[in-house]
Amino acid sequence: MNAIVTVIGKDRVGIIADVCGLLAKNQVNVLDISQTVMQDYFTMIMMVDVSGAQLPFSELVKLLEEEGKAVNLSIRAMREDIFNAMHRI
């Protein structure tokens, strides 16, 4: 199953490393990354595959949110289906 992960936070060294480390630790495979810095704010959108993750998706969402908060990042994971439903017929 694919999910969309969005990351927002004040730009600093190692954000991508932090997030990717967290994902790797949970067996989440990164498929695509798009990233930019807007007025000092780092924003990243990732498409990930969570089929290999040991945690159920709802717990993974919670974990990413909490771990993100600990390093001053807002990390949100949502199932890809919701975007497809809205934007693809």
Partner: protein, 452 residues
């Protein structure tokens, strides 16, 4: 592959524009709970509801987390209780409401609807007992919602029921006077009630429905308002097109959630109700959408036309997105629950008569309107009759949810709290309709041909 802008658009709708699933409502048939012994019947009611909706709240929360879309309410609707209680040898139906209330608390839902009676053509003994018990039932329970259908296009308007409900609304207000007459916010009087409405307070599980069903209500006035800002000053064709496209996206999301909930709860998927249901939060108002179309204040001349366009475009977008659009689908105009409506009513621009005109072109009707506490039962019955007539003649659902605020007058405000909001007390005509209401009987169904 999804584009960056599409992803950000969806996230923005949820974060900034109050897009949410307003309710997942599970309909449960209670016809199997009938029993001559009222205590046994109440026990069966409690057990069936709690067994059926055991996982409803948990499932709703799981979906909320995984999809990242807020699901504001989880609710239950049941078979009109007058039909279930009719089999029991008792004159007191309040225990049935209490059984519903206990079941709702056990399941963790925030409302349960279906303390209802369908009396559009005539009243059975059970219907009468239920209607007479409404004031007590609503004052002694917390989560129970009640509705009564008093008219339909096919059968006309039952004016005996209308008169009785005028008194019922008054008594309900008096019994809950210490809570700003809150009981009246949980009582809806319908014409042409729908059987699969997921929204409260008017939800009940129709007799033509399955054993259990999942209905989902989607909302999003904020999203429509935001979308309209991109077509400022453009012709109405473009306005309609923009609303349609937005409604389409919202409904697709609703259908996805409905199907997921239905799968996880192993309960058939009923309908998606695409209603622009406002909340008192700033940026989640239907009135502000109408104002965005170019009206200085909602309620001024032009409001009815603007609402007609909005309501129709919402439906058109919705039906393209799901083959199971149902319920009330359209735009709601509950005064106390809409920040823009509250402001317009406070300013004296939005009046009762204009609201009545607006109900001719949008879904539902005179909703969450506070009137002076000294308004008579006859006047309330007459307001109900007017609204039912609009529904009957125009082949649409109309409803009245009116609050005669005990001890308050024009200029005062009724505070309901939460999603129910706050309603400024609006003036009503002081001239009597008592002789009109005293007649009773039935207003015949309208002609279905010679439509001019």
């Amino acid at each position: 592959m999804l584009s960056r802008s599409e992803i950000l658009q969806t996230i923005d709708m949820i974060d900034q524009q109050h897009l949410d699933i307003r309710t997942i409502t599970m309909g449960v048939s209670l016809l199997s709970c009938c029993d001559p012994n009222p205590e046994t019947a109440c026990r069966k009611v409690y057990e069936k509801i709690t067994r059926s909706a055991e996982r409803l709240v948990q499932t709703g929360e799981d979906i909320e987390r995984e999809f990242g879309i807020p699901i504001v309410n989880k609710r239950i609707s049941v078979t009109p209780m007058a039909l279930v209680a009719a089999a029991s040898d008792t004159g007191d139906y309040v225990p049935f409401a209490k059984a519903m209330d206990r079941a709702a608390h056990t399941c963790g839902v925030n409302f349960i609807g279906g303390y209802s009676a369908l009396v559009h053509k005539g009243m059975t003994e059970a219907d009468r007992k239920l209607i007479q018990s409404i004031p007590e039932a609503l004052s002694e329970t917390e989560l129970v919602c009640s509705s009564v259908n008093v008219g339909s296009t096919r059968s006309g308007i039952n004016m005996d029921a209308v008169r009785l409900l005028g008194q019922t609304v008054k008594k309900t207000a008096q019994r809950t006077a210490d809570r700003d007459s809150l009981g009246c916010a949980k009582l809806v009087i319908f014409c042409n009630a729908v059987e699969d409405n997921p929204f409260m307070a008017g939800a009940f599980h129709g007799v033509g429905e399955a054993e259990r069903i999942i209905n989902v209500g989607v909302s999003g006035p904020g999203v429509v308002y935001h979308a309209l800002q991109s077509v400022k000053g453009r012709p109405f064709d473009e306005v309609a097109e923009t609303v349609k496209k937005t409604a389409f996206r919202i409904t697709r999301m609703g259908e996805l959630v409905a199907r997921e909930a239905s799968r996880r709860l192993d309960t058939p998927f009923g309908i998606v109700d695409l209603s622009l249901a406002p909340t008192p939060a700033v940026g989640d108002s239907v009135a502000r959408i109408l104002e965005e179309m170019g009206l200085e204040v909602c309620g001024t001349h032009g409001t009815t036309a603007a609402l007609a366009l909005l309501n129709d475009a919402v439906k058109k977008g919705g039906v393209m997105a799901s083959s199971s659009v149902g319920g009330l689908s359209g735009a709601f105009i509950p005064v106390s629950e809409d920040e823009g409506m509250i402001a317009a009513a406070r300013a004296g621009v939005l009046q009762m008569d204009k609201l009545e005109a607006m109900t001719c072109v949008c879904s539902v009707g005179l909703d969450m309107i506070a009137v002076p506490g000294d308004t008579t039962a006859d006047t309330i019955a007459a307001i109900i009759a007017d609204e039912a007539a609009i529904g009957m003649v125009n082949n649409k659902t109309t409803a009245v949810r009116i609050i005669p605020a005990c001890g308050k007058g024009v200029g005062d405000t009724v505070e309901m709290g939460g999603l129910l909001g706050a309603a400024p007390v609006m003036p009503v005509h002081r001239e009597s309709a008592a002789d009109f209401i005293a007649r009773g009987g039935r207003i015949p169904a309208p002609l279905h041909s010679l439509k001019n």
